[in-house]
């Protein structure tokens, strides 16, 4: 009887895994040396792959991503405001950290799609040209390199401009 129960539990556990998700996470590779899992890790990777509540990430996000300074290059843009407006006219704003990462706790804001996003830095507001319809991870559509199926990473300026110094190390 006990063996049967254990077998059933094992079978259930096996069914609860998601091989597609696991494979996609594996393809992201290991953590970068010197950057432990946390708010600064894995910039420009699809955050919700792990952090949607069903994945292995402890923190859960409704929307998350990374903002870079320029279209070319991967220097993060800290202290940018990320403004979100959903189809029910609910507004929310958050800011990027030293890795350029931002993330939204669904308890604070769980958007009703479509969702419109804009980035504000130094008083300049750059709206995203299309709304988001379902995907909470910026990098799912904004992965690098830009291609016929990807818009490339999220950036503030298309060409080199002077940015004020930040407090980031």
């Amino acid at each position: 009887m006990r063996a049967l129960l254990v077998s059933c539990l094992l079978a259930l556990a096996a069914c609860s895994s998601d091989p597609v998700r696991e494979q996609r996470i594996e393809l992201l590779g290991p953590e970068v040396a010197g950057v432990p899992p946390g708010p600064l890790h894995r910039p420009n990777q699809p955050c919700l792959l792990c952090h949607d509540g069903d994945g292995p990430g402890d923190a859960v996000f409704s929307v998350a991503g990374t903002v870079f300074k320029l279209q070319q290059g991967f220097e993060p843009l800290p202290d940018a405001l990320v403004r979100l407006v959903d189809s029910q006219r609910r507004h929310f704003q958050t800011a990027t950290n030293c890795a350029g990462n931002f993330f939204v706790d669904p308890h604070d804001f769980d958007p009703a799609y479509p969702l419109w996003v804009s980035i504000e830095f130094g008083g300049v507001v750059i709206p995203m040209s299309t709304p988001i319809f379902r995907e909470g991870s910026c990098a799912s559509c904004h992965g690098d390199p830009a291609s016929t199926e990807s818009a490339g990473h999220v950036y503030f300026a298309p060409v080199e401009i002077p940015f004020p110094p930040s407090s980031c190390p």
Partner: protein, 168 residues
């Protein structure tokens, strides 16, 4: 043969008939809605349906190509939608549920919600992306007008600019 056995045979025959689809090399031909008037419709579809997280993805059956979504033949970035992309979107759109689209066209666009593009977009049937083209909205009017053969340019133009709602 008892009545029950006969009923069983009839049921089997009906089931076999139900499982037999069209031949794998079968072709369905029809004259689609006008391609020439399609670009404004395509722009509306691109704004409402064609983001990279929805129908602007190569894995979708219905693929919408354009400036802000899926590009074609090595084009990247946000340059204007190319004629080739309009062609590809047109082919994809008219290839979705073509038998029903053909009937709708023959009937002058009457009850266009029978066609899956409008039925799903309008929320008449389950759609992961929700109701992207509510009944009577500019996007709905745009697509229906194309199926009727006279594109509502104003509706399509308005539908192609999907702006954030203003603060309450």
């Amino acid at each position: 043969m008892t009545r029950l056995a006969m009923l069983f045979v009839v049921l089997l025959v009906a089931l076999a008939g139900g499982c037999s689809g069209p031949p794998s090399d079968g072709r369905f031909s029809f004259t689609g809605p006008p391609r020439a008037s399609f670009p404004p419709v395509s722009d509306a579809l691109a704004a409402r349906c064609g983001s990279v997280d929805c129908h602007g993805a190569a894995a979708r059956n219905l693929r919408v190509y354009g400036a802000n979504g899926l590009r074609i033949n090595g084009v990247t970035g946000q340059g204007a939608t190319t004629q080739e992309e309009y062609d590809a979107t047109y082919t994809s759109v008219v290839s979705i549920d073509p038998e029903v689209l053909a009937i709708v066209l023959q009937e002058g666009g009457f009850a266009a919600e029978r066609w899956i593009v409008i039925s799903k977009g309008g929320g008449h049937e389950a759609h992961k992306g929700g109701t992207a083209m509510p009944l009577g909205s500019v996007s709905d009017r745009c697509v229906r007008s194309w199926v009727r053969g006279a594109v509502d340019q104003a509706a399509c133009l308005e539908a192609s600019e999907f702006l954030a709602p203003e603060a309450p």
